[in-house]
């Protein structure tokens, strides 16, 4: 195992191994401090970045951060590495790779072709040498398009998940939040419920309800009940209308075991969902959530910094051709991302790293009430992510999730970003809005009065 160092003035900064370089090169982060692996000074942080900048990208193929023998995620990363795709950047150091990513030469087609040649560790390393605007600029050049009933991730578009959660899964309450969101034109990525009760009959009930809403209004959307993958498999076996299968995933085998999943179980779920052939224009059937800090909280990070472990989860995701992936960035809590500065940075890193790896990344732009953040901070992150071409964002009524007790974005925010940045929703969904007569002459979705036909049609039908 190599030892790395950098002399700065009279100080020699020594790093015992590659994962120490990576941890010390990370921006200051409460989770890495909690794990006891963060740089203990700002100078040491920059020293680690200087070491990283001079390191050949190939070093990550030679030195695994978590052993191949004991971790199936490492085996997945190594075994699936595409050395032909990697060739154009194989000679570069991490610093050269960063500069190249920012260059005009690295355009959308080049980056798409490169994706299978990049490992999570390479991508995480490059992100540690980037400013926030670099993370935005490079991500904006990446394009990862997925299809089920809508097409998500097309250039110049912004999709959204409608999240109508209710603390007791009350059908009327969920319907109310769903209809409210539809009136804002939200939900073209997915209408996705976090169930309060994770059992098969309860999930089937919710799935049937969402499917009824979809078919009643003939909306080109897909639905998802974000239960455990084993619950969804059983629901499929019992004939439930499962569009997308959800699962939380993480970047190590042990952390995934904490979630009750393995790569083989995910493969089984993917096969089960594909067998239903419910997608009309594509068969991306998986929906994954990730988030920095999940491996540490499961005591399954093996001394690897939380951002790098998070990026390893994207290797898991891309093995299953997901329709949607999102980081829950500010949800996991201030012991991992302390304040708005850390949450913002992490959101941009997660999006950049995933996109570079060819993963269709979205984001739950969010925070908890014990983090040092508020809605103003979410405004900054959502605008940067939308500019970076994030595949989708999550929205709840009035930004307040009454079931999970945290704040995400409001339905208002989705519309505001779409109109401000001229990024319409998925084309199939936009066509539906158009056909329903909801768009004005500038193709905006205006605030329809309570007694207008648009509102009455939706709310009246729901009562029928």
């Amino acid at each position: 195992m190599a030892v790395y160092w950098r002399d700065l003035g009279r100080q020699r900064h020594r790093f015992d191994d590659l994962k120490t370089v990576m941890a010390c090169a990370s921006p200051r982060r409460s989770g890495d401090e909690l794990a006891g692996i963060a740089a203990d000074s700002d100078e040491r942080r920059v020293a680690a970045r200087m070491v990283l900048a001079d390191l050949p990208l190939k070093a990550f193929l030679n030195e695994t951060l978590i052993p191949y023998e004991t971790d199936e995620v490492t085996r997945l990363i190594v075994d699936r590495h595409d050395s032909v795709a990697f060739r154009p950047v194989a000679h570069m150091t991490v610093g050269q790779f960063r500069d190249w990513l920012l260059s005009y030469q690295a355009d959308t087609a080049t980056l798409s072709a490169l994706a299978p040649g990049l490992t999570p560790e390479m991508v995480a390393a490059a992100s540690k040498l980037m400013r926030n605007i670099d993370l935005v600029g490079v991500a904006a050049k990446c394009s990862v398009v997925t299809r089920f009933r809508t097409t998500v991730g097309l250039p110049g578009r912004l999709s959204s998940r409608l999240q109508p959660n209710h603390p007791t899964d009350d059908p009327a309450g969920i319907a109310a939040s769903t209809l409210d969101g539809l009136l804002y034109g939200v939900g073209d990525a997915v209408i996705g419920i976090n169930p309060a009760t994770d059992n098969v009959p309860a999930c089937i009930k919710l799935l049937e309800m969402l499917d009824a809403v979809r078919t009643r209004f003939d909306i080109p959307v897909q639905s998802c009940v974000l239960a455990h993958v084993t619950t969804s498999i059983q629901a499929i076996e019992r004939g439930a209308p499962v569009d997308l299968v959800f699962q939380s995933i993480a970047g190590t085998e042990k952390a995934n075991r904490g979630f009750g999943v393995s790569l083989s179980l995910l493969a089984e779920a993917q096969e089960a969902a594909k067998s239903l052939k419910r997608g009309t224009i594509g068969d991306n059937v998986m929906y994954f959530e990730t988030g920095q800090g999940s491996a540490l909280s499961a005591d399954a990070h093996f001394g690897v910094d939380q951002q790098t472990v998070e990026t390893r989860a994207y290797a898991v995701a891309r093995a299953f051709d997901p329709f949607l992936v999102n980081t829950v960035v500010g949800f996991i809590g201030p012991e991992y991302l302390f304040d708005a500065k850390q949450i913002t940075r992490a959101g941009l890193e997660d999006h950049f790293c995933a996109k570079l790896m060819g993963v269709p990344m979205g984001c739950d732009v969010c925070y908890t009430n014990h983090a040092e953040a508020d809605q103003d901070d979410m405004d900054v992150l959502m605008t940067m992510l939308a500019t970076a071409g994030v595949n989708f964002i999550i929205a709840v009524p009035g930004a307040d999730d009454v079931m999970l007790n945290y704040q995400s974005l409001s339905y208002h925010d989705v519309l505001g970003l779409r109109h401000l940045l001229k990024r319409p929703p998925a084309p199939e969904f936009e066509a539906w809005l158009d056909k329903a007569g909801w768009l004005d002459e500038q193709r905006r979705l205006p605030p329809w009065p309570d007694h207008s036909l648009v509102v009455q049609a939706l709310l009246g039908s729901a009562a029928a």
Binding site: A176, A196, S297, D450
Partner: protein, 269 residues
């Protein structure tokens, strides 16, 4: 359709009939694409209250008065202040040195208690202030013949801190009440964790949890009923955790959405 007809065909607020079904902020209206002023300020007020609940200190003197005539005993976690508490969950789970000594020399130590209440401020001072004492009193009324120790009041404390307290005082069943992470619609929500034979190192899967105890959630009386039912079952089976099933529908455990999955969230939520 004329205005007159429209008025006849629907209620004034088309959301009125939906609002009773959910506390979600539906039908807020729009100012262009933005939130109308009233809705914006209501949101800010709710967020301010939630943050105040996280950052304000519980008034343990007043809580002790509210608990009278029950005897109380004060301890502190190894997290000296709120900032450290938020950053270092590990310290919030341990007693500080002075508390360890106080417990060891306390007359209640080794008291062979059937049950011990520990009240931890957790993430909501307001929850503890408003709901903890009434719940403890309500449980005392329901637990005839139980040897119940003094109520331990724990500052800057997380759930696992109770394990060390129960081990030091000698209690078969630990009931730890903790201020839950406040949401915008529930800043005073209390959680109750029951742990049989509590001692440092117990896993979350070895506890039973009652969540969402507050006036608009699970009210005190119902919470006390449920808690005492679980306490009796725990005493009968001599265990708590996943093997002690409630007859109520099962709530999500580890393995669900990541949004509820991490141990710290189980502890906070």
């Amino acid at each position: 359709m004329s205005d007159e007809q429209q008025k006849d065909s629907g209620p004034k607020d088309p959301w009125a009939r939906f609002r009773s079904a959910t506390r979600a902020r539906i039908g807020l209206g729009r100012a262009g694409d933005g939130m109308p002023t009233t809705a914006l300020l209501e949101f800010q007020l709710a967020h301010a209250r939630a943050r105040d609940a996280v950052h304000s200190a519980a008034d343990f003197d007043r809580l002790a008065e509210d608990l009278a005539p029950l005897q109380t005993l004060r301890v502190h976690s190894a997290a000296p202040d709120r900032l450290t508490y938020l950053r270092r969950p590990d310290l919030g789970r341990q007693l500080d040195v002075a508390s360890v000594e106080r417990l060891a020399s306390h007359p209640a130590a080794g008291g062979d208690w059937d049950l011990l209440f520990v009240i931890a401020d957790g993430l909501s001072a307001a929850a503890v202030q408003v709901n903890a004492a009434p719940l403890v009193h309500a449980c005392h009324e329901r637990l005839f013949g139980w040897r119940i120790g003094p109520v331990v009041l724990a500052e800057q404390a997380r759930v696992a801190l109770g394990d060390g307290v129960a081990a030091a005082l000698g209690a078969r069943l630990l009931v730890l009440l903790v201020g839950e992470r406040p949401g915008l619609s529930a800043a005073e929500s209390l959680g109750a964790y029951l742990t049989w034979d509590a001692k440092p190192g117990r896993a979350d899967s070895e506890r039973n949890c009652i969540s969402n105890i507050h006036a608009d959630g699970l009210p005190i009386g119902a919470a006390a009923d449920k808690l005492c039912w679980l306490a009796n079952e725990a005493a009968r089976l001599k265990l708590t955790g996943v093997s002690l099933k409630e007859d109520a529908p099962s709530l999500p455990g580890p393995g669900n959405d990541s949004k509820k999955q991490t141990p710290d969230l189980i502890e906070n939520a």
